[in-house]
């Protein structure tokens, strides 16, 4: 997925937003992360989507369970640190076989500068798997789009929770010391 006249790849967020539209995703639940900022902007500008501002990530698991009961599809956006908050609530998705797609921007991953992000980042995949969530991962813009496409299709057709991890090679490791300059 390269632009025709330059080597910079297309950012994953635009094709992912198109996929969300294609799958008729109506409820976009999120605790924001910088890596999701562009996708959140696209969803906020989309009149067919309702962006729900959570105060903690597990609220999105229950919210989207309710949405599914009511016949609406949703997606949950969070950073990897929020996965820990979701652990017990994920029992709703697995015990009721609720479809759930979670897009998780990784912290504590490639090139991390904040030591406090590393434990949860390192445990993210293990924790999700332990709770019965299928885990996919993209480390390039192109791979993220491909994994999201597969996850949307699979989650809603086979009624299960699937997480797509967006690696820090894609979002870029942030360094607050540099951000302040």
């Amino acid at each position: 997925m390269k632009n025709s006249n330059q080597s910079k790849p297309t950012h994953w967020s635009e094709p992912v937003h198109s996929l969300l539209r294609e799958h008729q995703i109506k409820q976009v639940a999120m605790v924001p992360d910088a890596g999701h900022a562009n996708l959140i902007r696209l969803c906020e500008a989309d009149k067919k989507m309702k962006v729900v501002r959570l105060t903690s990530e597990e609220q999105g698991v229950s919210l989207l369970g309710g949405a599914w009961l009511g016949g609406e599809k949703g997606i949950l956006l969070m950073q990897s640190s929020g996965v820990g908050n979701c652990i017990n609530m994920l029992s709703l998705s697995t015990s009721c076989q609720m479809p759930l797609v979670i897009l998780i921007t990784m912290r504590g991953d490639h090139g991390e500068f904040n030591p406090s992000q590393v434990p949860m980042g390192n445990a993210t995949e293990t924790v999700l798997s332990a709770m019965g969530v299928l885990v996919r991962r993209g480390d390039t813009h192109e791979a993220v789009v491909e994994e999201v496409a597969g996850a949307l299709h699979m989650a809603f057709n086979t009624s299960r929770p699937i997480a797509v991890l967006i690696g820090q090679k894609v979002t870029g490791a942030k360094d607050f010391r540099k951000l302040t300059h």
Binding site: K26, Q27, K50, V52, R53, L54, T55, S56, E58, Q59, G60, V61, S62, L63, L64, G65, G66, A67, W68, L69, G70, G71, E72, G74, N88, M89, S91, L92, S95, C96, Q97, M98
Partner: protein, 200 residues
């Protein structure tokens, strides 16, 4: 001395002739209460997901804006998901009602006190979070008023309704709903959406 409300009587009164109400119940006693009132395909009793009942109600209310949605839960369950009051206050679903049956105890674990018995004011929290209407229910008149509010149609409110109903902490016979989550989900969706859409 005023007679304290009994939880089963409260729930029976709220769910009697329930119109097209969609009902979510928090785990434990509230799930047994809605079942004692008569199991129904448009009831979704929880067996877990503690702290999640109100958010399930929000997702459902947003998906079904023309239907009234009622969440019946306990004080312990609501206290675990207090942040959801902020989300619901901000998003203002006019078709959502949250009723907390407050017996000031964790009933399933040996009747330990919850913090509502130590002065925590859920109605005040709901008000501060911006829920359109937040009420304390302590007697039959309050309860009749609550029932009228729950069944109001359309955009009668500017956002969600919250009620903290003070109930006794007496032990009641277990009336258990079906335990299979997949069954509970499917019967709800089939009844609400029709089998073609629900099982597509």
């Amino acid at each position: 001395m005023k007679k304290i409300l009994q939880r089963r009587e409260v729930v029976n009164f709220l769910l009697h002739q329930r119109d097209d109400l969609l009902v979510v119940a928090g785990l434990g006693a509230p799930a047994w209460d809605i079942t004692a009132a008569g199991d129904h395909p448009l009831s979704f009793p929880l067996w877990g997901a503690m702290g999640g009942a109100a958010m399930i109600g929000l997702g459902l209310a947003m998906a079904q804006p023309k239907r009234n949605v009622l969440v019946v839960t306990g004080d312990g369950e609501m206290l675990m998901g207090l942040g959801s009051l902020a989300v619901i206050g901000a998003h203002k679903p006019a078709n959502l009602s949250i009723v907390v049956l407050d017996n000031e105890h964790y009933g399933e674990t040996g009747m330990q006190k919850t913090v509502t018995g130590l002065g925590v004011d859920l109605v005040g929290m709901a008000k501060s979070a911006g829920l359109a209407q937040s009420m304390l229910v302590a007697n039959k008149t309050d309860l009749e008023n609550l029932r009228n509010e729950i069944y109001k149609k359309g955009k009668a409110r500017s956002g969600a309704l919250f009620a903290q109903v003070k109930v006794g902490s007496e032990k009641l016979p277990l009336v258990l709903p079906p335990r299979d989550g997949v069954y509970l989900k499917n019967r709800f969706r089939i009844e609400l959406l029709g089998s073609e859409k629900a099982l597509a």
